[in-house]
Symmetry: C2
Subunit: 208 residues, 2 copies
């Protein structure tokens, strides 16, 4: 493992343990067992490190998802695979970091370096493409008569991604819930909902 | 409107416009048109302001939800009302602020003031009670034979709250999506799922 990769690994651990907002370059250097200068030799800032962690992971997420959406199986199988891909790409802290990075750049930073800007632009494009592909999958299911056509695809997608991304707030990789179980639960919820057919007490607006 | 309330209102606006992480006491003072000292006369810190905004709202959310769960209508109607209550309590920036506050306190702060600690403890209790009540609602639906008993209530609740809370990342109160439409979409997704009955291509693990 090169020093560069080691710094990225330790940074990932520290970010997920104590939160991005509370992590300084100093903390990362300590975790690696080197001086701050040793970190700065490879990375210009905390944001630089975040980008180097998140961008490759985001590209991988999109690449796999593209293959799923392009697959020949039915839309339900592809929905299932898509949820699995999203949740399995999830590693401790990935989404937390992605969210932090997005927050940091909610505001235009005048002092952003050019190289970083390019990567940020790519990251935004990856996320945009990812959401766009999700919308395509839902639209395809609607066109095929398999998904409820009354729902706006974009809102369905925000709902699914929200459900999945919220793991960054509660999921504990050391805990007793396996990702596989979450995949099955969320797929069932999204595909079929939680109510059983034939139950009474339809809510207002609950169309048959 | 008292000066104290005015500060809280302006702070809410600034927090949601530029993000909590990027908002200083100075920014809040500017928005009110007073000096920093004027803010410090009423509030000891940014966190103090956040708590004064979020705690009353959280209490209200829980109070209304308690009434819904205790209601006499069927579990589906109560699920519908619960989603509405959650999303309507949503005001610009509320969840963003709640999340920021939780992040700030992921780490124990040694210098937290006693008064603030009490309010934070209450806030945590409110959120815990809120989640607990949601779990009760799902369990009740399962016991009544109306909700799918194969799903773990806690994971169902995390899924629902994730879907709803994710609005803090994308919802634009000035945009063209009405909260009412999100309520109906998410209720339909959660209650019935997005697939239509009778479609082919069941995914693996998709139990009938």
């Amino acid at each position: 493992m090169t020093r560069r990769v080691e710094i990225l690994r330790r940074a990932t651990e520290v970010f997920s343990r104590q939160g991005v907002a509370h992590t300084s370059i100093e903390d990362i250097a300590k975790a690696v067992g080197i001086k701050r200068e040793g970190v700065y030799y490879y990375f210009s800032s905390r944001e630089d490190i975040l980008l180097e962690i998140i961008l490759p992971q985001s590209r991988g997420l999109l690449f796999n998802f593209q293959n799923i959406v392009d697959g020949k199986t039915g839309v339900r199988e592809r929905l299932h695979a898509a949820i699995r891909n999203h949740l399995e790409s999830y590693n401790p802290g990935y989404l937390e970091m992605a969210v932090a990075l997005r927050e940091d750049h909610g505001l235009k930073k005048k002092n952003a370096r050019k190289e970083e800007d390019k990567r940020l632009a790519e990251l935004r494009r990856v996320w945009k493409d990812y959401t766009g592909l999700w919308i395509r999958l839902i639209e395809e299911g609607q066109a095929a008569g398999e998904f409820n056509p009354d729902l706006k695809p974009k809102m369905v997608v925000f709902g699914i991604l929200g459900m999945c991304n919220w793991l960054s707030r509660w999921y504990d990789p050391e805990g007793d819930v396996a990702i596989e179980e979450i995949v099955e639960t969320y797929f069932t919820m999204i595909a079929r909902g939680i109510t059983l057919p034939g139950g009474g007490g339809e809510a207002p607006g609950f169309k048959e």
